[in-house]
C-alpha cells in the first residue's frame, strides 16, 4: 500500500499543531517520523488514524483520496496503530483484545440464527492469535490476561491486533519509551519481518539512534511543519539540527563538583509496585552534598517507586533511608519535606501541581501551614500573594498574574512553578524525576541551570531521567538502574555503548563495586 499525506493541517484553537504536512510512505518502507516532544507527530498520526479530523489536506491511498471519520474507517483502509499508551483492555485476555471489534462468531451448521446472535467463537479467536504470533515470531499466549503481561509483551499484543485487522501500514508512536534496549532490538527485528512481508511502518520517535538503526527514510517535523526529508545515513548532528532547529547544546555550564558530606544514604531499600511485585530490590546508593547523581535506566525499572519511597509516598518493605543524618525510613511525606527535601515529580500535572489552584496557591502547596503563610489556623492570603510575586519574578514564570489557575500555563512555566516552590525553601537534597520531559529547549536550559545552582548551593541532587542526554548534561556520577537495583556507577565520561549495555541488564558489576 502506498500512503501519502498531502498538506495536512490541524489546528487546536490558535495553536497550529500540523501545518501543511506532506508525507510519503512507500510500500515496504520503514519510515521514521522524527521530532521533539510537542512537534506535532502524534497529532499527525491521530489524523491519519481517524481520531482527529484534519482542517485541511488530504490522505491519499494508492492514488485515491480517502477520508476517515473515525478509527473504523482507518482500520478498514488498512491502517494500524500502536499507541504510546496501549489501547488494551486490562482485564481482557490477549485473544479478546486482539479480536475486539472483529470478533469471530460461531456459525452452527444447523442453526443459522447462531451467527446473528453473535455468539463468540473463542476457539477461533485463540487460533488466530496463535497463528499471527507464530508467523511474526511474536510469542504471545492468547489466554493470558493483558494486565498481567509485561509492557514489552503488551506492545506485541498491540501489533498482533493491527495485523489481525490486515493492517498494511503500521504506525508506532514512541514504541521504545517503555522498552529495555534488548526489547527494543526484538521490536526492530519484528518491524523488519513486517517489512519483509510487504507492509510499511511509520515509526514515531525523537531518538536519533533508533532512526539510524531501523528506518529507510526519515521525515523531520518541527513545530508542526515538515522541515526536512533525510536518509537514515545522515549523521547525529544533521538529524539533531533538523529536529531542534539549531545546534543542540545540552551541555550545561557547570564547574567541577565539590562533593561534601553524605546527605542521602539509601541502604538495602526494597519497595513494592502497585501490583504487589518488587519494584525496588535491595537498592543502595549514597548522594553527597554538592554533587549530582543521575539515575539512568529504562522507564519502569523501579525509578518511580524509588522516588515515591524516598518521599514517603510508598512504604519501604526493607532497608533504610537516611537524609541529612536523620533516619527517615517510613517517615511520612511531610516529615521528609521538612527535613529539607525538594521534590520534582515525574508527572508534574498529576503529582506536582493542583491544576485548578492559582499559581500563588501552588507555590505554597507544601508550606501553607507555616509562617509566614499562616497564622494559627488562618491562611494569610496577602503573604501568599506577595511571596508568589517574588518567586514568579525570580524563576521567570511567564504569566500576567499570580492569581491565574496553574493549568493555564505552558509545561515549561508549570515546571518553573514547581522548581520555584521546591527550591525556595532550604534544601538539603533535591530529588528530580524526568525534570525536563516535554519541555521546550529554552525551559530545559533554565531547569538545568537551576538544578546545577542547587548543587553549587550545597545541596545533594538526585536526578532520574530516561534521557541519556540529560544524564550526561547534568550528572557528576551516573548510577544505572535496572530491575530495581543499581547495577553500576560510572563517571560521566562513560561511553553510551557501555551505559546501554548496563541499562539492558546484560552486564552487572560485582555488588561491592556497585555499592561504592
Amino acid at each position: 500500500m502506498h500512503l501519502e499525506l498531502r498538506g495536512i493541517t490541524k489546528r487546536f484553537g490558535s495553536l497550529v499543531a500540523n501545518d501543511h504536512i506532506d508525507l510519503d510512505v512507500e510500500p515496504g518502507q520503514i519510515h521514521a517520523l522524527l521530532g521533539e516532544n510537542g512537534a506535532g507527530k502524534s497529532t499527525l498520526m491521530n489524523v491519519l488514524y481517524g481520531l482527529y479530523e484534519p482542517d485541511e489536506g488530504q490522505i491519499v491511498i494508492d492514488g485515491k483520496p480517502v477520508s476517515f471519520a473515525n478509527p473504523k474507517d482507518a482500520i478498514a483502509a488498512g491502517i494500524g496503530m500502536v499507541h504510546q499508551h496501549f489501547m488494551l483492555v486490562p482485564v481482557f485476555t490477549v485473544a479478546e483484545n486482539v479480536t475486539l471489534g472483529i470478533e469471530p462468531v460461531r456459525s452452527l451448521p444447523h442453526l443459522r440464527v447462531a451467527g446473528r446472535l453473535g455468539l463468540l467463537d473463542r476457539r477461533r479467536a485463540r487460533r488466530e492469535v496463535k497463528e499471527l504470533s507464530a508467523r511474526y515470531n511474536l510469542d504471545v499466549d492468547p489466554d493470558a490476561v493483558v494486565e498481567h503481561l509485561p509492557v514489552g509483551t503488551q506492545q506485541r499484543v498491540e501489533i498482533i491486533k493491527s495485523l489481525a485487522r490486515q493492517a498494511e501500514v503500521l504506525i508506532l508512536d514512541e514504541p521504545t519509551a517503555v522498552l529495555t534496549p534488548g526489547e527494543t532490538d526484538e521490536l526492530f527485528a519484528i518491524l523488519k519481518s513486517l517489512q519483509a512481508s510487504g507492509r510499511s511502518v511509520v515509526f514515531i520517535t525523537h531518538k536519533l539512534r533508533e532512526v539510524q538503526a531501523v528506518a529507510d527514510q526519515v521525515t523531520v517535523i518541527r513545530q508542526g511543519k515538515v522541515v526536512e526529508h533525510l536518509a537514515p545515513t545522515a549523521t547525529d548532528a544533521q538529524l539533531a539540527a533538523a529536529m531542534v532547529g539549531r545546534e543542540v547544546r545540552l551541555r550545561v555550564e557547570k564547574g567541577p563538583a565539590a562533593p561534601g558530606e553524605v546527605v542521602l544514604a539509601i541502604s538495602g531499600l526494597t519497595v513494592a509496585d502497585d501490583l504487589g511485585g518488587t519494584a525496588v530490590n535491595d537498592f543502595s546508593l549514597e548522594v553527597r552534598r554538592g554533587e549530582i547523581v543521575g539515575i539512568a535506566g529504562v522507564q519502569g525499572n523501579g525509578q518511580t517507586e524509588l522516588c515515591e519511597s524516598l518521599l514517603g509516598l510508598r512504604p519501604a518493605l526493607a532497608g533504610t533511608v537516611t537524609i541529612a543524618g536523620d533516619d527517615l525510613t517510613g517517615a511520612d511525606t511531610r516529615t521528609v519535606l521538612r527535613a529539607g527535601v525538594g521534590y520534582v515529580p515525574e508527572d508534574r500535572q498529576d503529582d506536582g501541581l493542583v491544576g485548578d489552584f492559582t499559581i500563588a496557591e501552588n507555590l505554597a502547596l507544601d508550606v501553607y501551614d507555616q509562617a509566614p503563610y499562616s497564622r494559627g489556623p488562618a491562611l494569610r492570603l496577602d503573604a501568599l500573594r506577595d511571596i508568589a510575586a517574588r518567586q514568579i519574578a525570580e524563576f521567570d514564570v511567564r504569566t500576567r498574574s499570580s492569581e491565574v489557575p496553574v493549568r493555564t500555563l505552558s509545561g515549561g512555566n508549570q515546571q518553573k512553578v514547581i522548581l520555584a516552590r521546591e527550591l525556595s525553601r532550604p534544601v538539603n537534597l533535591l530529588v528530580a524525576s524526568q525534570p525536563t520531559r516535554g519541555l521546550d529547549i529554552g525551559s530545559i536550559e533554565f531547569v538545568h541551570k537551576r538544578i546545577v545552582a542547587a548543587r553549587d548551593g550545597g545541596a545533594g541532587v538526585l536526578i532520574v531521567s530516561s534521557e541519556l542526554d540529560e544524564i550526561y548534561a547534568l550528572a557528576d556520577r551516573i548510577a544505572v538502574m535496572s530491575d530495581g537495583r543499581i547495577i553500576g556507577i560510572r563517571p560521566p565520561t562513560v561511553s553510551r555503548e557501555e551505559l546501554g549495555l548496563l541499562m539492558s541488564g546484560a552486564h552487572r558489576d560485582a555488588p561491592a563495586e556497585a555499592a561504592s
Binding site: T333, G352, V354, F357, L365, D366, L381, R400, V404, T408
Partner: protein, 429 residues
C-alpha cells in the same frame, strides 16, 4: 481582579478573572451579576415553574373535565388550566413570601405578626436545609460525595433528641448541650464514612447510601426501646423536648422562626471561612482538586477525608438539632424527611459555595412553606414541590439544555466546568 491588568491590556479578554479575597457582600453581588451560570440557574427555576404549572393545570380533575370539550370550547379549557395553575402558585406565594390580606388586615389594626408568618415559615423550612446543604457541599470540595446526610441527620436526631428530653440542665446550657450533641451524633456517623474511605478506600457513595438505610432502621429500632418511648403512646415517638432544650423563638411564640437560622448562617459563614481562609480549607480544596499532588506536598489526604466527613456529619447533625429542638420538639420515625436528598440538589444548585447553599436553601424553604399553603388552598398535592425541585436541578445540571430552551447563545468565555461534571475519559491520546 487586579485593576491594572485589564486596563493596560489592549484587548481585555477577561479569560482569567483573578479571584482575590472577597468580602461576603462583594461575593454576593458577584454571584448575582456574574456570568452565564447565574442566568442559567434563574432560567432553570423559571422553566421548572412553568413545567410544574403545566403539570398542575393538566392534572386538575376540573381542568380535565373541561378538556373533554376542548375542541368545542378550547377557551374554557385553557382558561380553566390557567386558573388552576395560577391559583396554586399564588397560594404558594402567599405561603412563602407575603399574604396581602394579612397586610391589609394589619393596616386596619389586625395582627402584625401574621404578615411575617410566610417569611418565618420559609426561613424555618430553609434552616435544616442550609445545614444539610453544607454537609454535602463541604465534602464535595474535598472530592467526596456525601449522599449520606440522611444517615448523619438521624445520628444527630437521636443524640440531640435524647439530650433534649431525657436530661435536665439549666436553661441556656441545656440547649447548647443538646445542639452540640446533635453535632456529635451526626459527626460520629460522618466519621465512620470518612474512616472507611481513608482506611479501606471504600467508595463513599455506596457506603453513605447503605448507611442511610442502616440508620433509618436503627432509628426505628431505637424509638422502639423503652428509654425513647413516650409514656402513654404505643407508636414509636419520643417524649417532648424540655423547654430548656428548645431553640428560642426570635419573634414571639406565634411565629416559628427560631435561633436555628442564626446558627445556620453562622455555620455557613464558618464553612466559608474554613474553605477560603484557613489552612485546613486549603488542604481540603487541594485534596479535592488533586489528591495525588496534595499527597506529594506532604498533606495527609486520609486525615483530610476523615476530618471533612466528620465536620459534614456534624453539620447534618445540626440540621437534625434544628428540627428536633427548633420546630418538632420530638423525634419520630420520619424525622429525617427528605432533607438529606434535598441537600444534594441544594449543593448542586448552590454551585458548591456556602452562599449559594444559603440562597438555594431559601428557595427550597419558600417552595416548601408555599407548598403547605397551596395544599390547603387548592388541594394540589405537595409532591409538586418535589417535581419542581428535581426539574430545576436537572436543568441546572445541563446548561446546554437551558440555553437551547431559551435560545441563548453559548457564552464566548469558556464555560466553567460544570460543578458536578464527572471526571471524563477524554480521547486525548
Amino acid at each position: 481582579m487586579t485593576a491594572a491588568a485589564p486596563a493596560t491590556d489592549p484587548r481585555p479578554s477577561g479569560e482569567h478573572p483573578a479571584e482575590g479575597p472577597k468580602g461576603f457582600v462583594a461575593a454576593f453581588v458577584e454571584a448575582i451579576v456574574e456570568g452565564s451560570s447565574t442566568t442559567v440557574t434563574v432560567l432553570a427555576v423559571v422553566a421548572a415553574i412553568v413545567i410544574g404549572g403545566i403539570l398542575i393545570a393538566f392534572s386538575d380533575p376540573h381542568v380535565l373535565g373541561k378538556m373533554g370539550h376542548f375542541f368545542s370550547a378550547p377557551g374554557a379549557a385553557l382558561g380553566a388550566a390557567w386558573d388552576s395553575a395560577s391559583a396554586a402558585y399564588s397560594a404558594m406565594f402567599r405561603g412563602a413570601i407575603v399574604n396581602f390580606h394579612t397586610v391589609s388586615a394589619a393596616s386596619r389594626g389586625g395582627s402584625v405578626t401574621a404578615v411575617f408568618n410566610p417569611i418565618s415559615e420559609t426561613i424555618v423550612n430553609a434552616t435544616p436545609l442550609i445545614f444539610a446543604g453544607l454537609a454535602v457541599m463541604l465534602p464535595f470540595r474535598a472530592g467526596l460525595f456525601n449522599i449520606g446526610a440522611t444517615g448523619q441527620f438521624i445520628g444527630g436526631a437521636i443524640v440531640a433528641g435524647y439530650l433534649g428530653f431525657a436530661v435536665s440542665l439549666p436553661p441556656f446550657i441545656h440547649v447548647v448541650v443538646a445542639v452540640a450533641g446533635g453535632f456529635a451524633g451526626g459527626a460520629a456517623v460522618g466519621w465512620f464514612v470518612g474512616f472507611l474511605r481513608a482506611r479501606t478506600g471504600a467508595n463513599e457513595v455506596i457506603v453513605t447510601i447503605m448507611l442511610n438505610y442502616v440508620a433509618e432502621y436503627f432509628l426505628l429500632y431505637v424509638l422502639g426501646t423503652s428509654p425513647f418511648r413516650r409514656p402513654g403512646r404505643s407508636d414509636p415517638i419520643t417524649p417532648f423536648m424540655h423547654g430548656t432544650a428548645r431553640l428560642p423563638h426570635l419573634a414571639g411564640a406565634s411565629l416559628r422562626i427560631n435561633a436555628g437560622i442564626l446558627v445556620a448562617l453562622a455555620a455557613a459563614a464558618a464553612v466559608s471561612w474554613l474553605l477560603k481562609r484557613s489552612t485546613l480549607g486549603f488542604e481540603i480544596r487541594a485534596v479535592g482538586a488533586n489528591a495525588r499532588a496534595a499527597r506529594g506536598a506532604g498533606m495527609n489526604v486520609e486525615r483530610g477525608y476523615i476530618l471533612v466527613m466528620l465536620i459534614a456529619g456534624g453539620l447534618a447533625g445540626l440540621a437534625a438539632a434544628s428540627v428536633v429542638l427548633g420546630t418538632n420538639y420530638t423525634v419520630d420515625p420520619q424525622i429525617y424527611g427528605t432533607y438529606g436528598i434535598d441537600a444534594i440538589t441544594i449543593a448542586l444548585l448552590g454551585r458548591g459555595t456556602p452562599l449559594g447553599v444559603v440562597l438555594a436553601s431559601l428557595l427550597y424553604g419558600a417552595l416548601h412553606a408555599g407548598g403547605v399553603t397551596m395544599v390547603a388552598a387548592t388541594q394540589t398535592p405537595i409532591e409538586i414541590v418535589t417535581v419542581i425541585q428535581s426539574v430545576i436541578v436537572l436543568f441546572v445540571a445541563a446548561p446546554p439544555l437551558v440555553r437551547a430552551l431559551f435560545r441563548l447563545r453559548t457564552p464566548k468565555q469558556a464555560e466553567a466546568v460544570p460543578l458536578l461534571a464527572a471526571p471524563a475519559v477524554v480521547t486525548e491520546p
